[in-house]
Symmetry: C2
């Protein structure tokens, strides 16, 4: 592999001249255009490519951002989630010449810890941690003192944190769904979701739903099913939801609409309704949450809150870049939080409330 000195020899100039020309600094320093041409020519001829490591060492910058992903086995929900996030992050950093490293859990070492290790080694300039997906409780290293020096951004942090973060406005998303149903004349709505996530007694999403329903003067109830990490396999989650709702449907339904914790739950709900001989959306409207690929594929196509994962990733990527380049930004108040607003994808699983 040719280096600067090879190019210099071939162009009959010194190494620093080559460096200056190739970095485009020749105008500032004042190098003959003729000479610059010769240098470029020579570089071309020997097939010169700058050595990444030497460059990074000198510049003190890796030009790499890591995304930590804790995937227990072959997760299906995870695939979609991470690809959305990574797409956004990449879109944000590619133009600045940054690259994306995937940090996964390996053996007993969690993805977060591995990411922090990468940061310490200076292999990474910044690290993005999806709060929900990467098991933060395993991230021992996050608590260590020198963390203040390290650049970490958390996505959808499931708890209070000092770290800068980007989150989906879950409250706004749920409100969108509730408002949509209210406008369609629904008065009694059902929540269908897992009983807990992590250690909160109920999901934040459900809390948001209840509040939104309350504010819209809707009545209703919640069906909560046990979610022992089963949500990892889509089919299991759908079945859990379906079973939970089916049980309820042995009585007459006292609601005209259902909001599901996510798309998969909503699909399970639709299956339960159909089994009970109820039509969607004529008898009962169903709203999902996530706007994954399933939403469009299912019959009828699902009305669902769009997560805009790639927007979250994009914001996170931009934030990391800003924090890397702008030393000042680092000193800003801890715990700065960016919020991304969701949208509602209205499709055919919702319709006017059936008059009772």
């Amino acid at each position: 592999m040719p280096n600067l000195s090879d190019v210099a020899k071939r162009a009959h100039v010194s190494i620093s001249t080559v460096s200056a020309v190739l970095r485009g600094k020749h105008t500032t320093v004042g190098i003959t255009e003729l000479c610059a041409m010769r240098v470029r020519q020579a570089a071309q001829e020997v097939g010169y490519v700058p050595n990444y490591h030497a460059r990074s060492m000198r510049l003190g910058r890796a030009h790499v951002v890591g995304v930590a992903m804790q995937l227990p086995g072959v997760s299906e929900t995870g695939s979609l989630y991470f690809n959305g996030i990574c797409g956004g992050v990449h879109a944000a950093i590619q133009d600045e010449g940054y690259n994306l490293m995937l940090i996964r859990n390996a053996g007993r070492t969690g993805a977060v810890d591995r990411g922090v290790m990468g940061l310490r080694q200076r292999m990474l300039d910044g690290l993005i941690i999806p709060g929900r997906a990467s098991n933060l409780r395993d991230g021992q290293t996050l608590a260590e003192p020198d963390m203040r020096e390290l650049l970490v951004v958390v996505l959808d942090p499931p708890f209070q944190t000092d770290l800068p973060s980007v989150a989906l406005d879950e409250v706004a998303g749920v409100a969108l769904a509730v408002q949509h149903l209210a406008e369609l004349g629904h008065r009694r709505v059902l929540w269908l979701g897992p009983d807990q996530w992590g250690d909160s007694p109920t999901t934040g999403r459900e809390q948001a739903f209840i509040t939104a329903a309350w504010d819209a003067a809707l009545q209703g109830a919640s069906i909560r099913y046990a979610d022992r990490r089963s949500s990892d396999r889509l089919a299991n989650a759908a079945q859990a939801a379906q079973a939970a709702l089916s049980e309820r449907l042995t009585q007459d339904p006292d609601f005209t609409a259902i909001v599901g914790y996510n798309d998969v739950v909503a699909i399970g709900a639709m299956q339960a309704l159909q089994q009970a001989g109820l039509q969607v959306p004529q008898d009962v409207s169903v709203v999902g949450f996530d706007d994954g690929p399933l939403a469009q594929l299912i019959a009828p196509p699902l009305t669902t809150v769009s997560h805009r994962l790639s927007d979250i990733g994009l914001q996170a990527g931009r934030l990391v870049l800003e924090l890397i380049t702008d030393a000042q930004a680092r000193r800003r108040p801890r715990g700065q939080r960016l919020v991304v607003s969701p949208t509602l994808s209205v499709r055919h699983s919702t319709g006017p409330a059936r008059p009772r």
Copy 2:
């Protein structure tokens, strides 16, 4: 950030001693265990972490493998595909201390070209290219002379190549499906798939199907629909397949089983059949290809050929590692090809052929 010299000072030894101890070479060189302890202690105290770039420069190894992914927009099929692949690759390389870099297309530069760039810069030790997903035709750089020096492994190459590759045994997969149907007594089978992929007049998968059917003494026909990259959105692909089959179903069906190009196509087929009043699997059996998350979720659960993406990734990762570490392996006959055997996930979309 502390460096070797800081540790050396604190331990009152020389830099090379510290290096030797920390690399575990102290026994070979012959360093007092007492001294080694002191060094480790000192390293701990100052919070020493080796600098990745300096190390890599010296060692001439990046300890990073790239995976090129060409994703047009937000691809849904791609998500599953790449996560499967990346999971396998990561599993193969993590134990050897290698990391995984995601190389996406950026602007007008394809993922493959960016990956090759990374290789040249020595940012990457090896590159894995999913042949089908990353638009190899855009990979101009792959043809350049110095490519022989660069370490590239192609997954499922859609054409003949000199590059080492790992591929799913598509022929075996299709044969599995055909054999399964033959055993169930089916005599007339239908192929449903896109009309072309890249520039071959029909997909290799279809060719394999026809041959397998021929060998099993089955009769049948092919329905080919136009696939203008529409397969990128699952819903579109499903609809194209559904439409194509529905048209055929205006006549009486002259088959008792359908094999779809992939799961999504199979799902489209099931929808078309159901609309035509045909039951799956009582009237017609349906087999898919991919074993994606949809296969289990749909009703009835789909019998499908399991791609084992993560196995492909695993093999590819191992191959890359072998090629990196074993210089000899590099000189092996060009175009070495590893093959991964698929399996058939038998579920409920297939049953005995309806007697006619």
